[in-house]
Symmetry: C2
Subunit: 102 residues, 2 copies
Amino acid sequence: MSESSQSTDVATILQNVLGCKWTLHILAEVRDGVNRPGELVRSAEGLTTKVLNERLVKLVRFGILQKTSYPEVPPRVEYELTQFGKRFSRLLDEIDRLQKEC
Amino acid sequence: MSESSQSTDVATILQNVLGCKWTLHILAEVRDGVNRPGELVRSAEGLTTKVLNERLVKLVRFGILQKTSYPEVPPRVEYELTQFGKRFSRLLDEIDRLQKEC
């Protein structure tokens, strides 16, 4: 069961993501394969479960991440980049590259 | 005599530029060769000289545009993309492309 949709415009998403260090951090972690909430919340000092969940909900709403819930006990939830999310991440890489060359 | 410097961070510049329709418009016009203030102010309904000048000052401060003043009577001023400005514009193209493909 996975939920993802991409309706917001890319420029708005970019402004939002660029303006939030936790969103950028979570995106980088999921991109590196750290894709469970438990692992994610332990991936950085100061990242709380509340903030993590808010950012994950936002990244799914933006269509960047896809959430998959596995009907297990205890329930298992994983996040991964959507196709759009992969393209969006490459855009962030471009911004990093441009930043380094300035 | 030309003035341009690039000290602000790319993500901050991008957030600023993406959030302002006049900045995007002026950048597109200069990119297309419309590079004098007189021509620029006539390039769009509703664009005032005051707003144009504010945006041009900002784009020079960001290091995206370079201003050249020619010691003539009447004085001639022209704007053009810097190297960074050209790279930055290609980033905007990437965002447009991603937007169109969504």
